[in-house]
């Protein structure tokens, strides 16, 4: 979780990721941020996030993103 937050803050220092739970639905992250985030997460955790994983539910909060990472690491 710490690492995910660190990556998020590096991409968008202006957002309060610990409390935001509508990152995609609320339009906080744009598609450029999402792609940058995917690249970083893939490298950091040695996973492969696919376009089919890009549903708002997976990216709306730092917690959700962390859950997605953990799920993909298990596979």
């Amino acid at each position: 979780m710490e690492k995910v937050l660190e990556i998020l803050e590096e991409i968008r220092p202006d957002v309060d990721f610990e409390n935001e739970d509508s990152l995609v639905d609320g339009g906080v992250l744009d598609s450029f941020d999402i792609v940058a985030l995917v690249g970083e997460l893939n490298d950091e955790f040695d996973i492969e996030i696919k376009p089919s994983d890009l549903v708002p539910a997976n990216f709306n909060s730092a917690k959700a993103i962390n859950a997605l990472v953990e799920k993909l690491m298990d596979e």
């Binding site: 991409i11 744009d30 598609s31 450029f32 999402i34 792609v35 940058a36 995917v38 690249g39 893939n42 490298d43 996030i49 696919k50 376009p51 089919s52 890009l54 549903v55």
Partner: protein
């Protein structure tokens, strides 16, 4: 059968009656009324087109079942042999299934987009003519919608539909077949199949939305279209002032035409209990071009984002380019880090806009339109730090109202530049338009030309009043985005409600362009 015709009005009324009077004991078959109505609507356009939509329906339906079978048998095998397979063997099996599914999805995509491309490009490429070989009703929209479904099946994000007729309804639903919105299977399909009972509130809201759409299309867009087609018919005859006027009028006309048509579609669907996605969110209030494309033709933008932009931008090729820049010496600088983050992604978005341009038709002006929009977005993203530092140096607060107003006006001008490619008949003539707009401004000549375009002075003043009216409505909508004007309206006393309905109907009857001997203009987007 045009959405603005009396025939359509009768057709919708009959369908509504049959749907809501459908016997309760067979209510799980209620959706067949919508399917039948959709095919009747489609047959009105011409029997010769039905083959195309049936081919797309069948190829997509069976392709999806085929992939579904592959996934299921692979999953079953894995479950049964869980104990005796190594991790590597399991991985290999999964990869093989994925590869086979990829072949199927590629085949379906190539076949269906192939037909679309052939119809749009064959005449220009092989026969030396211009325009489409054949304009099949709604082919772009039902092709996009079905191909979205087949990609969802490939990605395993929705279950495959096992009833052919149900799937045929998803592809052909008549309110959206002409010009969208392009529905997504996961949010639209179940709504189509569910037996909805009559809801007076929904009926009133849908009715008001249809009325609003008819007003925008018939009483505004079709009036403006008279002047625009007068110009495009003899494009070379006009000076810079008239051309500038035409482009601005076109911005108004296209928005009223397209969003009016979508309002009619959404209104009809709403009466049946079906919520279709919004396709426009006051696009001319956008503060930059990317925002504009998130608010204009939203369903098309979403389609391209989900099925083309993300797969491209997230492909290993694009991500590796980014990674390599970041690792290089250049990547350790501030500029380098920014480039590494946005270059591959902005290139992917450039490709998307290029494709959107190409989809509009076989004409260089559409390619130019795509390159222009993609180019602006790419530059805006790449140069973002530069703009930010300039603002800082000038001590401008990016959130202040004057700067926001400046951004909105600037974006609208950029949109107008894009529209020049749309209005002008060819690429050469669009270049000529830019030249004349900057070098040939003459108010007196312009006034003389504009008054000869088939619109009387009164009609021009009327259009100007409409523009102000739409602007005010848009500001109200923008400030109360959470609710709609019509849901506020239905809570008002009967006299207010009926007053508004009466005024709207009178406006359509008095100012609407229709009548015998006059064919209401086709919806602009029906031709794509």
């Amino acid at each position: 059968m045009s959405y603005t015709s009396i025939k359509f009005l009768i057709f919708v009324t009959v369908t509504i009656l049959v749907y809501f009077l459908f016997p309760k004991k067979w209510k799980e078959y209620k959706w067949t009324v919508l399917l039948l109505a959709s095919y009747v609507f489609y047959l009105f356009a011409g029997v010769q087109y039905v083959g195309f939509i049936l081919f797309t329906t069948a190829s997509t339906f069976f392709g999806a079942l085929w992939m579904d079978k592959m996934s299921k048998s692979s999953k079953n095998y894995l479950r049964e042999h869980k104990a005796d397979l190594s991790r590597d063997e399991k991985k290999k099996l999964k990869e093989r299934t994925k590869r086979n599914k990829r072949l199927v999805v590629a085949l379906i995509l190539i076949l269906n987009f192939g037909i679309l491309a052939f119809l749009k490009y064959a005449k220009v490429l092989f026969m030396g003519g211009t325009g489409d070989l054949l304009v099949v009703l709604g082919i772009s929209f039902y092709t996009f919608q079905s191909m979205g479904y087949i990609i969802d099946i490939y990605r395993d994000t929705v279950p495959a539909q096992r009833n052919f007729l149900k799937f045929a309804l998803f592809v052909s639903f008549f309110p959206q077949i002409v010009q969208g919105p392009i529905g997504i299977y996961s949010s639209l399909a179940e709504q189509l199949y569910k037996p909805h009972s009559f809801d007076y509130d929904r009926f009133r809201q849908g009715f008001l939305l249809i009325l609003w759409g008819l007003f925008k299309k018939m009483a505004i867009a079709d009036n403006a279209n008279i002047a625009i087609s007068a110009v495009t018919d003899h494009y070379q005859a006009y000076g810079g002032t008239t051309l500038l006027f035409t482009v601005i009028l076109y911005a108004f006309q296209l928005y009223m035409d397209f969003s009016g048509g979508i309002d009619i579609s959404r209104g009809v669907a709403q009466i049946f209990g079906i919520d279709m996605m919004e396709n426009f969110r006051r696009p001319y209030f956008s503060k930059d071009i990317s925002e504009y494309w998130r608010r204009w033709h939203i369903s098309l933008g979403n389609w391209f984002k989900t099925y083309l932009f993300y797969p491209l931008a997230m492909s290993s090729l694009f991500l590796n380019v980014s990674k390599n820049i970041k690792k290089s010496k250049f990547g350790s600088t501030k500029v380098g880090a920014h480039i590494a983050k946005v270059l591959p992604t902005s290139f992917a978005s450039f490709i998307v806009f290029f494709m959107v341009g190409v989809w509009h038709g076989a004409n260089w002006k559409y390619v130019a339109f795509g390159v222009y929009n993609g180019g602006i977005i790419m530059l805006a993203v790449l140069l973002k730090p530069v703009f930010e530092s300039v603002l800082k140096k000038l001590h401008i607060n990016p959130a202040c109202a004057p700067y926001t107003a400046f951004r909105i006006i600037r974006t609208f001008i950029l949109v107008l530049v894009g529209y020049v490619f749309d209005v002008a008949p060819s690429f050469e003539e669009s270049m000529m338009t830019f030249r004349l707009i900057f070098t040939d401004q003459n108010l007196k000549v312009g006034y003389g030309e504009i008054s000869e375009l088939g619109l009387s002075k009164v009609a021009l003043v009327y259009l100007a009043i409409c523009a102000v009216f739409i602007f005010i409505i848009s500001v109200i909508q923008e400030r109360n985005a959470a609710t709609t004007i019509r849901s506020t309206l239905i809570k008002k006393p009967a006299i207010v409600r009926w007053g508004v309905v009466y005024l709207a109907i009178m406006a359509i009857l008095i100012f609407g362009v229709y009548g015998s001997g006059f064919n209401a203009a086709d919806f602009v987007y029906a031709q794509f």
